[in-house]
């Protein structure tokens, strides 16, 4: 962390300076993303090998949501993702790496974006996921045994997208999620853990996939989410923390699932997201003036899509993919 970063760390909000972008720079973003795709010998590409399949999903999804997917090399990407499959049925981030639920979901999502799901072996993927469910309903992320509510979303989403949700024990999975539900309305990583917006998204999304959203107090959760909006308009992930574009997605998508998107100030929100764009290189950063990256780019774009923007594809709040590519795989929601 730089000194400037450290200074910001201690504060609880940011000031939006003048001269920051005030509208969506859609075409710049596609250039930014395509550069990541092209530069395979670059430092960042190589050093991010341990999360590459997730990175591919972020990039492909950003291109799909900005209606520019055709600019990507579909065949090459699909071949690469398929090459990350391991003998246990799951997918790693890159060949040679172990399978993990995070990357297995991203692999499935990427294959759907490129309309290539038929090239994957659905049954072996579902078997892989099923084996990671524990007696108490929780899921391990991989063979290491680490448990986290993020992995519950990964599991339910993966099996739903493959049309085989019932292979999992949904009752125990939901019971585990509810044990992670806090009295402030949020969810944490495990029972007793502090509420965190990313975790709320995972749990609310998983409950929506299971058709069990009514098990929580809709308005109490929406309220906790609404209080994530800072004076700058940006959303933080936990109380008294700095706003960050990626939380725009986790918070807004959760509110959208709960049908309470109007609980926050939408125009202030958009202003903050626009301000996080880099008007030279393209892409979004976590906060105005920071370095852009594909992770914040896709979530910035997806968040804007939730508010409706004709230059973007409509995004599905549960799966963070275009409604168009999901088609009949969407969960029926109000």
């Amino acid at each position: 962390m730089s000194m400037a970063g450290l200074f910001e760390f201690a504060r609880k909000d940011v000031n939006l300076q003048e001269k920051l972008p005030t509208k969506l720079l859609r075409d710049l973003h596609s250039n930014f993303i395509l550069q990541y795709e092209r530069d395979k010998n670059g430092y960042h590409y190589i050093m991010a090998e341990h999360l590459r399949v997730s990175g591919i999903y972020w990039c492909a999804n950003a291109m799909d949501l900005t209606k520019q997917l055709s600019q990507m090399s579909a065949d090459e990407i699909v071949q690469y993702v398929l090459s990350c499959r391991n003998s246990d049925g799951g997918y790693g981030p890159a060949p040679g790496h172990d399978s993990h639920l995070l990357h297995t979901l991203c692999a499935v999502q990427t294959l759907i974006i490129f309309d290539s799901l038929q090239k994957a072996d659905s049954n072996s993927i579902c078997d892989y996921v099923k084996k990671l469910q524990n007696e108490d309903g929780s899921f391990c992320g991989d063979l290491s045994g680490e448990v986290d509510t993020r992995f519950t979303l990964c599991s339910l989403a993966t099996c739903h997208l493959l049309g085989n949700l019932s292979t999992l024990n949904i009752d125990t999975a939901v019971n585990f999620l509810l044990r992670c539900y806090n009295s402030d309305g949020g969810f944490g990583t495990r029972p007793g853990s502090e509420s965190h917006a990313g975790q709320v998204y995972c749990c609310v999304g998983a409950l929506a996939i299971a058709g069990r959203l009514d098990s929580i107090s809709r308005d109490r959760t929406a309220e906790w989410l609404a209080f994530r909006q800072c004076d700058s308009g940006g959303l933080n992930g936990r109380p008294e923390k700095l706003p960050d574009v990626c939380y725009s997605w986790w918070v807004l998508a959760s509110l959208a699932i709960l049908g309470r998107l109007d609980f926050i100030d939408q125009s202030a929100m958009k202003k903050f997201i626009y301000a996080c764009q880099d008007d030279e290189t393209g892409g979004f950063a976590d906060r105005p003036g920071d370095c852009a990256d594909p992770f914040h780019t896709v979530f910035g774009i997806a968040a804007l899509s939730l508010f409706g923007d004709d230059s973007l594809e409509q995004v599905d709040p549960i799966f963070c993919m275009s409604k168009k590519c999901l088609g009949s795989k969407q969960i029926e929601m109000f």
Partner: protein, 582 residues
């Protein structure tokens, strides 16, 4: 990338950086290839440990390499196990055990170094848990001390808090010790949401009643906790941590449960009623079909329909219908397996006391500590009023929440005006949130006035007119009792989230509605009034009307839709259309 400032760089600097990066990436690729090839050959040796260590020290997120280390470590644990079980001399055995222990300590040290450089690495934190679980005599005291030091540096690191919880559990720390742990950190920095959360969880664990599944803190405990937290909001009235903890305390103090997350409350049947073509069951919280079946005399799972404000086809809900022309027999009381009371539903079953709690029909007794808290919050509200520069919502919001919990009837007017002040002036960003709370307060107020009539058998009407309702969340508890609903003159924007599946007559005139979305809950309507709404096109209504075959009369006076009357007549041949007041 988080917290990485963009800094201007010259071409020269860029070139130099690229050179360094190229070298680093080549080194990484070389080491990675070596690790993967050794793994594939099954060589989990010292070289493997040093190769993975060198990379993980720079990037602890490469979980595959931690997996490889764990395989290596497991092999050593097994080897030691074999030595311990063999006939070798004691000295050799001790030596082997000591070697393993010091090796495991070394692994803890590696994870410590990784956490120091990247305190948010999931993998590095997980490695600590994994090692502690495998040490014969783990030093929990040292571990908790390490956690404390880390939290002094970043009091919000949730990885560290989670680790603390795990270690405390492994060390079989008493809950009292956990409270003391939170004390130390709160004293260090009172504005610490994480520490207060940790404290609330520890208290919940101490006072959780395993039999009833509920939590009850006694008055003296709540009072002393309030004393503790009040000093914090006096120090910084904008700090959310203290307010959240206060709210948790005051909600725990009263018997009302509906505002709290529902996972904590036991399920109760609220109403059971027969409606000619269905039996409707309403529960205090969402249930699934297997649970339902324990309440009824059928094992049929196919005729149940659930209703929700978020989805057209939920698997769990508070409101269920069983579709059949004859009523179900329903268990209306169950103390134990022997003592079960059934009802044929000749008259509806109504859990009146529970409904009274849900809709604030009576106020709950106000303990001394609440009076004290109200006084203190009032002082802060006054302070805020004096200071014209800042707009701090918390004192007024907290006061309003206390009033809603303890004085919802006698302070109704004040609650409404406070919520309006919050929405319009103190915190307009969240205006719709406050309006939804106001909406619920007004809904309760109106239901209170009609309560006896709604519960009686003469009328199935619910009338909540001109009450600024933006939401009908909460009305679902009346799903078995209301057939005729009139919400004229409110601020409702959508009707498909209304969970009143037995409604046949619905008036939603004079609401800012632009479109009617289909909803299974409204499929029995015979009468619908949408006069004075903003609905303007056939497309905005037909998808909904197509799901209501029973619709008989439609009043749509004073809407732009009046101009489309003829077209609508063609689409809805059997419906009596009323475009003008008589």
């Amino acid at each position: 990338m988080h917290f990485v400032k963009k800094v201007p760089t010259t071409e020269e600097e860029k070139a130099a950086k690229a050179k360094v990066q190229f070298k680093r990436s080549q080194q990484f690729l070389h080491a990675r290839d070596r690790i993967v090839s050794k793994r594939d050959k099954g060589e989990f040796d010292d070289e493997m440990l040093s190769l993975t260590q060198a990379i993980l020290e720079k990037n602890p997120d490469i979980y595959t390499f931690w997996n490889i280390r764990r395989t290596t470590i497991e092999q050593r644990i097994e080897a030691n196990q074999k030595i311990q079980e063999s006939d070798i001399g004691e000295e050799e055995k001790t030596k082997s055990a000591q070697k393993l222990e010091s090796f495991l300590s070394g692994e803890l040290y590696l994870s410590y170094e990784c956490i120091k450089s990247n305190p948010k690495s999931y993998s590095a934190w997980y490695q600590r848990t994994w090692i502690l679980e495998r040490q014969t005599t783990p030093d929990f005291k040292k571990e908790l001390e390490m956690c404390k030091q880390a939290l002094m540096m970043d009091c919000r690191n949730f990885h560290c808090w989670d680790h603390c919880r795990i270690v405390a559990k492994m060390a079989k720390k008493t809950k009292q010790e956990e409270l003391e742990f939170s004390n130390a950190l709160i004293e260090h920095n009172p504005s610490n949401y994480s520490a207060w959360h940790y404290r609330s969880v520890a208290l919940e664990n101490i006072h959780y009643d395993k039999k009833t599944g509920s939590l009850k803190l006694d008055d003296s405990l709540i009072a002393s906790e309030l004393e503790k937290v009040m000093t914090v909001f006096y120090m910084d009235a904008e700090d959310q941590s203290a307010w959240t903890y206060t709210r948790w305390l005051l909600e725990n103090g009263n018997g009302k449960e509906f505002l709290r997350p529902e996972s904590a409350t036991p399920v109760e049947l609220i109403t059971a009623s027969f409606h000619g073509n269905n039996t409707t069951l309403v529960f205090s919280r969402a249930v699934t079909i297997p649970f339902l079946l324990t309440f009824v005399d059928t094992e049929d799972t196919s005729r149940w329909r659930a209703f929700s404000s978020t989805s057209p086809n939920p698997s769990s809900s508070r409101v269920w219908q069983y579709l059949s022309d004859s009523p179900l027999r329903v268990v209306i009381s169950k103390d134990s397996d022997e003592n079960v009371i059934w009802s044929n539903l000749e008259t509806p079953f109504i859990n009146k006391s529970r409904l009274e709690t849900i809709y604030d029909i009576h106020e709950v007794p106000q303990p001394e500590y609440i009076r004290n808290l109200l006084e203190n919050v009032q002082i802060l509200v006054e302070d805020e009023k004096k200071d014209e520069k800042t707009k701090n919502k918390w004192p007024l919001y907290m006061k309003t929440l206390i009033l809603m919990e303890y004085q919802p009837i006698r302070s109704h007017e004040e609650i409404i005006s406070n919520l309006k002040l919050l929405a319009e002036d103190l915190d307009p960003k969240r205006a719709e949130l406050y309006k939804s709370i106001l909406s619920r307060q007004k809904l309760n107020h109106s239901i209170r006035e009609q309560f006896e009539r709604i519960l009686g058998t003469d009328s199935d009407q619910l009338v909540v007119r001109y009450a600024e309702l933006t939401s009908l969340e909460g009305v679902e508890f009346l799903a078995g009792l209301v057939g005729n609903a009139d919400f004229q003159g409110n601020q409702l924007k959508e009707i498909h989230r209304i969970v009143l599946p037995n409604v046949h007559n619905l008036t939603i005139s004079e609401n800012p509605i632009e479109r009617l979305q289909p909803s299974p809950s409204l499929s029995h309507l015979t009468f619908l009034a949408i006069a004075g709404t903003q609905i303007s096109s056939i497309d905005a209504v037909m998808p909904c009307f197509q799901t209501i075959p029973s619709l008989d009369r439609l009043i749509f006076c004073e809407t732009p839709l009046v101009e489309k009357t003829e077209e609508l007549r063609k689409q809805l041949p059997g419906v009596r259309l009323i475009p003008h007041w008589l």
